[in-house]
């Protein structure tokens, strides 16, 4: 490689330069599913920012998709909180523990207005990951606030939304629609900053 092109390559590695579907290096967290890792930029969930998961119905498998991530994040020595903001039901502790989630780091927040608590949790820098279930559909402006808070607090935010929001635009880093399949889920990447779009099938690995 000649000297100018080497310089150019170095320049393009600067994190401030965004190059569409470029291979610009970014920190990522393995999803635990090889098929999904291959589709996501950086090879996994983004380290910070807001992810939207759109589901037709509560319980189609959206939580199983995240369990390897939660287990990995809460199992680290200096783990921060894994916050559950306004979950619709009680998270069942024995099942979480059985999937390897460290319950010491789990924080459940019951909030009538989840978006405020979600923004606080994202922006505080005290959480590794925050999951939130929106009671009402958040506006684009609110999602932008959440996205900025997540970047500020170096936190990964996951917002679960109903599937009817597919057509809305959103400032989130990643938007995934989840549909149920007999032995897994079908994921549609609606938006993936710096990555490809499309659909993939994820099979639950036995015993996970």
């Amino acid at each position: 490689m000649s000297a100018p092109s080497l310089q150019l390559a170095r320049l393009l590695e600067h994190p401030a330069i965004w190059r569409g579907r470029s291979a610009a290096r970014r920190e990522a967290l393995a999803t635990g599913y090889a098929a999904l890792d291959a589709c996501l930029p950086g090879g996994g969930w983004p380290r910070t920012g807001l992810i939207e998961i759109l589901i037709a119905r509560f319980g189609v498998g959206e939580l199983y998709l995240l369990l390897p991530l939660l287990a990995a994040l809460t199992g680290r020595p200096a783990a921060r909180w894994c916050a559950w903001i306004a979950p619709p039901l009680d998270p069942y502790a024995p099942a979480l523990a059985a999937h390897g989630v460290n319950l010491e780091r789990v924080l459940v927040v019951r909030a009538p207005e989840p978006l405020w608590a979600f923004e606080q949790t994202l922006g505080s820098g005290a959480s590794d990951v925050a999951l939130a279930w929106a009671v009402r559909d958040p506006r684009t402006r609110e999602i932008r606030r959440l996205q900025l808070a997540a970047e500020r607090g170096k936190t990964l935010g996951v917002l679960f939304r109903p599937q009817r929001a597919v057509r809305q635009s959103s400032p989130a880093v990643l938007r995934i629609a989840v549909e149920s399949r007999p032995t897994g889920v079908r994921l549609t990447l609606l938006k993936s900053r710096g990555g490809a779009r499309g659909s993939i099938e994820v099979e639950w690995t036995a015993g996970s």
Binding site: D90, Y92, A97, L107
Partner: protein, 495 residues
């Protein structure tokens, strides 16, 4: 304290105390030669039992003269002023300043100066002018004072009076051994302390400090933001107050006064001692936002609980979220902020309990961080208890599932068999031809898992659990009662 003791020892052997050459410090000050000089203050007609007592109030004021202030309840106060006497214009100046402090507190007091605290106090009780600065002259000056000022028991004083001993001088002239035998060594020790023969160590007075400031407003405030802005100077003052003392508060009360209605109180409870004004303002703002005020606010007041010494730790090299950077302070801060707005029970952690009934197998606990309860320990406890528990008797073949739940990764029952979500109460399902329905027929997957337990405490259950798939592909955890009428219930969602 060490130096204090040494000084006392020196003083306790009067022969060793040689009068030092007189130094004129300031015009008008008396020559001072003893190693210590105590001011005794005796409160006349002190109303005892008031809160906070006049004695404490006076002690607080007297601390501006010297840090060595001791209380002699119920009505006495001694201060060591040797080092600071010249700062207040000598004996006369100090006496005048003390008298004006007493006057401002509307207290009537008598003041005396002597090289030992007890002598100063006794002389003050007698109420005649008494200023002795040299230890060698002390005994001579004490001689004519009545014995009653020592406040010995009436019986002792009576016996001494019958012997014709009514003044301190007469008592000092009695043979020591005989005196100790007749009236006890305590009485002799009192006399020794009085004359400086033995040291008189006294506990220093430490004020129970609280912060309390009030601000009257020139106009009535209704908006929460304006109230918070009005509180800002008080909070800033609180911040300086805490910083100067290296302390924090655990509880802060904000009182908002109205024209007619009762004052509105807003109490902030904190998890760790806090002195950071920015965070206090933030938390108070959250709390105020949740208040409904009956009337506009005319005055506001801040009251702290007693102060707590803060323990400082160094900052981490890494930001939270970077490399090995944990989130020590932020973790507690987040919980406090959420709780300030949502209430204390809205934020909690989860734990696994050793119970066979699915609804009893988990519990709520204080979010466990580095500063919370050690969760590893509670996990261990749960495990060992589950091993010992006699529950397996009533349980079926799959019942050995409970204990290993705490042991991550190595589960005896497949993790897939427990749902991620549990309903707070099992929900009755409709059925057709004995099969459950929920917005359409449910398809049962796999074989049943029988849970039959709890017979020993009356909460017995006998259920056959199934995984079921509904029309939308949602996997549900449902069960059928083993007893008639064999109803179907929804108990969880796999998620």
């Amino acid at each position: 304290m060490r130096s204090h003791v040494i000084r006392q020892k020196v003083r306790s052997t009067p022969d060793a105390v040689r009068p030092r050459p007189t130094r004129a410090r300031f015009p008008g000050t008396a020559p001072v030669t003893s190693t210590e000089l105590w001011v005794g203050v005796h409160l006349v007609e002190a109303a005892v039992g008031q809160e906070p007592g006049p004695l404490e109030q006076l002690a607080l004021c007297a601390q501006r003269f010297t840090p060595r202030v001791s209380l002699v309840p119920p009505d006495g106060l001694v201060l060591e002023v040797k080092g600071s006497l010249h700062l207040f214009g000598g004996v006369e100046g100090l006496s005048r300043a003390l008298a004006s402090e007493c006057a401002s507190l509307r207290l009537k007091s008598m003041v005396a100066l002597a090289p030992t605290p007890l002598a100063a106090l006794v002389a003050a009780r007698v109420g005649k002018p008494f200023v002795v600065t040299e230890l060698t002259r002390l005994v001579g000056q004490l001689m004519p004072l009545p014995l009653g000022a020592l406040r010995w028991s009436d019986e002792t004083l009576d016996r001494l009076a019958r012997m014709g001993v009514r003044t301190i001088g007469q008592a000092l002239r009695l043979p020591r051994a005989g005196f100790a035998r007749r009236f006890g060594t305590d009485s002799l020790a009192t006399l020794d302390r009085l004359t400086g023969r033995s040291p008189d160590l006294r506990d220093r007075f430490h004020a129970r400090e609280r912060f309390r400031r009030r601000r009257e407003l020139n106009y009535e405030l209704e908006s929460h933001d304006a109230i918070l802005a009005a509180l800002a100077p008080l909070l800033a003052e609180l911040g300086k107050f805490l910083e100067a003392r290296q302390c924090g508060v655990m509880r802060l009360e904000c009182l908002l006064r109205h024209r007619h209605a009762e004052p509105t109180s807003c109490v902030l409870g904190l998890a760790t001692p806090l002195a950071d004004v920015r965070r206090l303002t933030e938390l108070l703002g959250e709390r105020l936002g949740a208040l409904t005020l009956p009337e506009p606010v005319r005055a506001c007041e801040l009251r702290s609980s007693s102060l707590v010494l803060r323990v400082f730790s160094s900052n981490s090299v890494w930001q939270p979220g970077e490399h090995g950077g944990g989130a020590g302070a932020e973790a507690a801060e987040l919980i406090e902020r959420l709780r300030a707005r949502l209430g204390p029970e809205a934020v909690y952690g989860l734990r696994v309990l050793p119970g066979h009934r699915p609804e009893n197998a988990w519990g709520v606990r204080e979010p466990g961080g580095p500063m919370g309860q050690p969760v590893a320990e509670s996990g261990l406890k749960g495990r060992s208890r589950a091993r010992r528990a006699p529950e397996t008797t009533g349980a079926q073949r799959r019942e050995s599932r409970e204990a290993p739940a705490a042991r991550r990764g190595t589960t005896l029952w497949p993790a897939f068999r427990r749902p991620m979500w549990l309903l707070p109460m099992p929900k009755l399902l409709s059925e057709r031809d004995g099969l459950p329905r929920r917005r359409g027929p449910l398809r049962l997957l796999g074989e049943a898992e029988r849970i039959e337990t709890g017979w020993w405490d009356g909460g017995d259950i006998a259920r056959d659990y199934y995984t079921a798939l509904d029309l939308h592909g949602v996997r549900l955890w449902i069960y059928r009662e083993r007893a008639a009428p064999h109803r179907w219930f929804l108990h969880g969602v796999f998620g």
